[in-house]
């Protein structure tokens, strides 16, 4: 049974794998030190306790010993060198890994409090749910991510895939993953970014190649105008200032791209499931799901609210 979907000791991707092996080495080493020193401390505390029958004389005064000092300097130095070399190797293997031409490129942009994903070569823009292909050892297809921030600092942390890397404004970063298991991998923002830092959740869908290709095709389609009542409300209110629906006049960039909203399992950066009720509530009263988020309450009448919700539900 899985103890946690975000367990750092259950790696499913290459950088997380190499961190995991290093962590086992480090943990075994420090556990060894702990046992030895703890045993000495316990022995000293028990053995050299003052006895009831004590004669109140002072024990022999020992001021030090250079040999002993040398011993407990050299041994820790050797341990430190071993740990350092092991760490340096993993740093180099993760940070200096070359990018293969088969790699998928994604630009990740952190916003208060959601994630924007852009696939520049595939011409896809989406939000909060990242889709990547699983990597086959014979034909590796790692995903290389460029990390940017639109506002404050954030950090991309999906523990089973890789360690975290920060998204810092005016300071582009990069990281990569090479998942060898399919499935949904969870995580969340790991650098305090403001009021709703807690609900800036991460969802990464690692898919078999064919499934991923199908997802890409769907995302590349541009929706057709339905000229519905909901669409008219959407386009005549402030919705369009922040949201984009490709192929329509809605071209806002502050909020998530809604072109394929219905292809996502969640809304509000993972804070709620993408159901009719939650979606309606999110438009009507965002603070009910995520108090302090940047989505404003739109103050729509019940009729307009239903119409907009219905319109959004057509965005597949």
């Amino acid at each position: 049974m899985q103890i946690s979907p975000t367990n750092i000791f259950a790696p499913a991707s290459t950088p997380a794998d190499s961190v995991f092996s290093l962590s086992i080495f480090v943990i075994l080493t420090v556990t060894g030190i702990f046992i030895v020193v703890c045993a000495l401390l316990t022995y000293a505390a028990v053995k050299f306790r003052i006895r009831r029958s004590d004669d109140h004389s002072e024990p022999a005064q020992v001021y030090g010993s250079n040999q002993v000092e040398l011993a407990w300097t050299v041994i820790p130095v050797l341990i430190v060198i071993a740990l350092f070399l092991a760490s340096a190797r993993v740093i180099a293997s993760v940070q200096d890994a070359p990018k293969p031409s088969s790699a998928l490129e994604v630009i990740v942009i952190g916003h208060q409090y959601w994630w924007e994903y852009r696939y520049p070569k595939l011409n896809i823009v989406t939000a909060n749910e990242l889709h990547v292909p699983v990597s086959d050892p014979a034909h590796p297809t790692p995903t290389f991510m460029t990390l940017l921030s639109a506002d404050t600092d954030h950090s991309f942390w999906v523990p089973r895939l890789a360690g975290k890397t920060d998204l810092i404004p005016n300071h582009p970063n990069s990281m990569w993953i090479e998942p060898h298991e399919t499935g949904l991998f969870l995580g969340q923002c790991a650098q305090y970014c403001g009021t709703q830092h807690a609900k800036m959740l991460l969802r990464v869908y690692v898919q078999p190649r064919a499934e991923f290709d199908r997802w890409v095709q769907e995302q590349q389609q541009v929706s057709q105008s339905s000229a519905s009542a909901g669409e008219r409300v959407f386009q005549s209110t402030a919705c369009v200032n922040c949201h984009t629906v490709a192929g329509t006049p809605a071209k806002g960039l502050f909020g998530p791209d809604l072109t394929h909203l219905m292809s996502r399992d969640t809304i509000a950066s993972g804070a709620a499931l993408n159901t009719h009720e939650k979606l309606r509530l999110w438009i009507q009263k965002p603070d009910a799901l995520k108090p302090g988020s940047k989505m404003p309450a739109m103050g729509l009448s019940d009729r307009d609210l239903d119409a907009v919700t219905a319109y959004l539900e057509t965005l597949r």
């Binding site: 103890i3 420090v30 050299f48 030090g64 430190v80 740093i91 200096d96 942390w157 404004p169 969340q188």
Partner: protein, 556 residues
């Protein structure tokens, strides 16, 4: 010193309260200032403790809505800022102020007025911080207490993201108290270098004095960049500067460097005085001279120097080059060597002794154990790739609380009991002290042992709530339960100190049969400490007096 003051000391009961308070407010006496620092810290410990309790109650179950996210974010910002700048630092300075002149046979600090000025600057800083609850809204209607986290990463502190004056109160608070800290640090260093009694060469200073000398030097080097950074932040916010304003081409990363170049030495600013306390208490309660005095001094100074070159291990996840990451792994791990040497020397001091487990020694033994664990989890965090997983998780939070509470606060609790008889002239109640020890020990381990686990399971810090089904729930319940034991422990400590102050048995000048100079004067020490300035020949002048047949100076 006027005859007037002497008269007042002889008839303490008859003085009106206002006069006594006036004496405390205007005092330049190092002992009174030391006590003011400590009492100030205890008041703020209550505030910081309440903030921690609110956080732990909120986190006891997923999707809890006890407090709003805004309130929670203020709680962790205020908790961190309070505990570091207005609890730990004042406690450290308080003990240094009280003990250093007494232990080097001096009658006061080198600059008594600077000493008073520094304390009141710190007090003003504390006031600024807490005034934010009232004044933080400013004219904007946004704000309240600061909510940017205790290390206040840019650009969250720019006026774009932090409206109102909450960040300004945070900045002013650290700016003002920083000036106080540097003042006190210069005072401590000068006092130690210039005011030692005849015969006390550098090599004959008690270890506590050596360690506080290192601490003083570190404060001057570490707090200055922080003060500079606060000024730059003020320039950014009000004079159109762009040091940290990333939207206008400034650098968020520069703030990180400024903050952590203060922040990491700061850990040792707090830890070294805790080492100092252990280095006095462990020998006295083991009835043996400290093992390897010169090595202990060297290791301390080495820690001081190395601690200036490790700051970027707080920044392993910000995308430094592999070369920079590798360097900071090495420098950070290197500090484990002198730290390990200190642990081994304390163990060797206990080895072959006759250990008496009175409350101060119980706290110091727990300090040794917990500092060992904190150091080892520190090594796991120093391995940069492992830190990519552990950094900013609850594992990290557990690690640094192990350092600050498990090591530093435990040592300071030990110091409370060890020097209480000297400060008040009364003995504390030993069985109540032992009860406090066990309450706090159990509470500490419930909270901070189990806090590591959700971190390993992916729980990041600074989240006001979390999703169910992540395997974090049960651990958060246990962590919260521990808080109540710790709070009870602190209340028992306060009760013990108060009760003993009024009802305690007279302690005499040297209740522990100790060896350093503060025990040669009366309890409490008179103003000006020593009627005749003492002359010493070894590191343990009172051992020499008590054992004229076998004095230390023969071996040193």
């Amino acid at each position: 010193m006027s005859t007037n003051t002497i008269q007042l000391t002889e008839f303490p009961v008859s003085r009106p309260l206002t006069l006594r308070l006036h004496e405390w407010v205007t005092t330049v006496d190092h002992k009174r200032l030391g006590l003011l620092y400590i009492l100030f810290a205890l008041v703020f410990l209550m505030a910081g403790g309440i903030e921690a309790t609110v956080m732990r109650l909120q986190l006891i179950r997923p999707h809890n809505d006890l407090v709003s996210p805004q309130a929670f974010n203020r709680m962790f910002t205020m908790h961190g800022t309070t505990m570091i700048f207005f609890v730990a630092m004042p406690l450290v300075f308080g003990f240094a102020n009280y003990l250093v002149p007494l232990m080097i046979g001096a009658r006061d600090m080198a600059f008594p007025r600077l000493n008073a000025f520094s304390f009141w600057m710190t007090a003003l800083g504390g006031l600024f911080l807490y005034f934010s609850f009232l004044g933080g809204d400013g004219l904007y209607g946004g704000g309240g207490a600061p909510d940017v986290g205790w290390f206040a990463y840019a650009p969250l502190t720019t006026r774009t993201f932090s409206v109102g004056h909450s960040t300004d109160f945070w900045t002013l608070s650290l700016l003002v108290s920083g000036i106080g800290s540097v003042g006190t640090a210069i005072n401590i260093v000068t006092t130690i270098l210039c005011m030692r009694c005849p015969g006390m060469t550098l090599g004959k200073m008690p270890l506590l004095v050596w360690l506080n000398l290192t601490m003083g030097g570190l404060v001057v080097l570490a707090v200055s960049p922080l003060t500079a950074a606060q000024l730059m932040l003020l320039v950014d916010r009000y004079l159109g500067g762009h040091f940290f304003d990333a939207q206008a081409g400034g650098s968020a990363v520069i703030w990180m460097h400024f903050f952590w170049v203060f922040g990491h030495p700061e850990v040792y600013v707090l830890a070294i005085p805790a080492f100092a306390i252990a280095s006095e208490i462990i020998p006295v309660f083991s009835r043996k001279a400290i093992f390897g005095y010169p090595v202990m001094v060297l290791a301390t100074v080495a820690i001081g120097f190395i601690s200036m070159s490790v700051w970027a291990h707080h920044m392993f996840t910000i995308g430094m080059t592999s070369g920079a990451n590798t360097f900071f792994v090495l420098s950070t791990m290197a500090i484990a060597v002198p730290t390990g040497i200190k642990i081994f020397n304390w163990l060797a001091t206990m080895w072959g002794g006759k250990i008496r487990f009175a409350a101060p020694m119980m706290f110091c033994t727990a300090f040794l154990f917990q500092f060992l664990v904190a150091g080892l989890t520190g090594v796991t965090l120093a391995a940069a790739p492992f830190d990519w997983q552990l950094g900013n998780s609850y594992y990290l939070v557990a690690h640094f609380h192990y350092v600050i509470v498990g090591a530093i606060l435990f040592a300071i609790f030990g110091a409370f009991y060890y020097w209480f008889p000297k400060v008040t002239g009364k003995m504390y109640n030993e069985s109540i002290a032992k009860m406090q020890f066990w309450l706090f020990f159990i509470g500490f381990h419930l909270t901070f042992d189990f806090m590591h686990i959700p971190g390993l399971l992916g729980m990041p810090r600074r989240i006001y709530t979390y999703e169910p089904g992540r395997g974090w729930d049960i651990w958060n319940v246990i962590v919260t339960i521990g808080v109540f034991f710790q709070a009870a422990g602190v209340l028992v400590l306060a009760a013990n100190l108060l009760l003993s102050y009024f009802r305690g048995k007279a302690a005499g000048s040297d209740p522990w049969d100790a060896w350093t100079l503060e025990w040669s004067t009366s309890s409490p020490p008179p103003e000006y400490n020593f009627a005749v300035v003492p002359t010493v020949r070894s590191r343990r002048p009172l051992w020499d007096l008590k054992h004229p047949e076998d004095p230390d100076w023969r071996y040193e």
